[in-house]
């Protein structure tokens, strides 16, 4: 029974900075947050409804032409819920790496397949690392360094781990090729 809806905290965190629509929230999550958290429309819209019923957020419907739009705003109660969550020291951290799963179970298969799987992973990481570095550099240049320290820290986490991944990829490929095999 997943008792706490984690997406709620993501949404409250985003709304604590600015009012947003569900669509905006999705865009924010797909941005700087995406490398350590995910969210989907099927997740976001029901959460917005639920939180509105709980009084954690309020909605404001507008219509520009024939276009409907609902913007959400965090309430004091919502702000309190966010703070409570921030103070709880328990946090679930987990990774699901299908690439490692394939490598782990790939022993029975040809070594070439394993090497190729690592190469595909490596390319993806290189791409992601490039994006993150650009984001990080833009932050460094920003005047208000103090305000961006938390964004910098999460970005540097991503960069450090991605760099570790790449080192591992090089080592793993070398090992698999050296030992010849199937």
């Amino acid at each position: 029974m997943a008792r706490e809806r984690k997406i709620d905290m993501v949404i409250l965190g985003l709304l604590s900075h600015e009012d947003l629509t569900g669509y905006d929230i999705k865009k924010r999550i797909d941005g700087a947050i995406s490398f350590f958290w995910k969210g989907s429309f099927g997740n976001i819209y029901p959460a917005l409804k639920g939180m509105e019923n709980q009084g954690l957020i309020t909605k404001n419907d507008t219509s520009v032409g024939g276009r409907e739009k609902t913007t959400y705003h965090i309430t004091e109660s919502g702000s309190d819920a966010l703070k409570d969550w921030l103070k709880e020291e328990q946090a679930s951290n987990e990774l699901k790496y299908e690439t490692l799963l394939k490598l782990f179970f790939g022993g029975a298969e040809s070594r070439g397949v394993s090497v190729h799987n690592i190469e595909v992973f490596e390319e993806q990481i290189q791409k992601d690392l490039k994006v993150l570095k650009k984001y990080s550099e833009a932050l460094e240049k920003s005047l208000d360094v103090e305000d961006h320290i938390y964004y910098s820290l999460t970005a540097s986490f991503g960069i450090k781990t991605y760099e570790a991944y790449l080192k591992w990829c090089a080592k793993a490929k070398k090992m698999l090729k050296q030992r010849g095999g199937k």
Copy 2:
């Protein structure tokens, strides 16, 4: 619509080595695999039923005393499904790090809370790293090095990333403390 049940592949991968019960499978997942994949009973048992219906595995009921036990065995069709999955180059790799989420949104809160959250994370990683290193050392000492190369590679991935995490923790704590603040 999550079209592919990933747990199926984990189970087939495990069954490709030995016959197992659902309970055994859970234990295996909680072991060497746990740092890059998770599984629960509520996930495993339905998957076993489903795969039996699909003919990917066969079951063998036994009863020792008043105790029932169902052991599963992989079929040729199941083995093919596993091989097909191994060859598919697409793989979803993602992490969900609540610690980073808290750090990212914690800017509005006191700096002490952020430092504490990092410390809690750090302790967990140190503990996990210790376990992984022991596992890795045991593998190195194993006579059949060739057979264990894939297990070593996944373990070394964990060690490398955990070490990167710890370096980041040190840096992040230092940064937060240096800048004083709230």
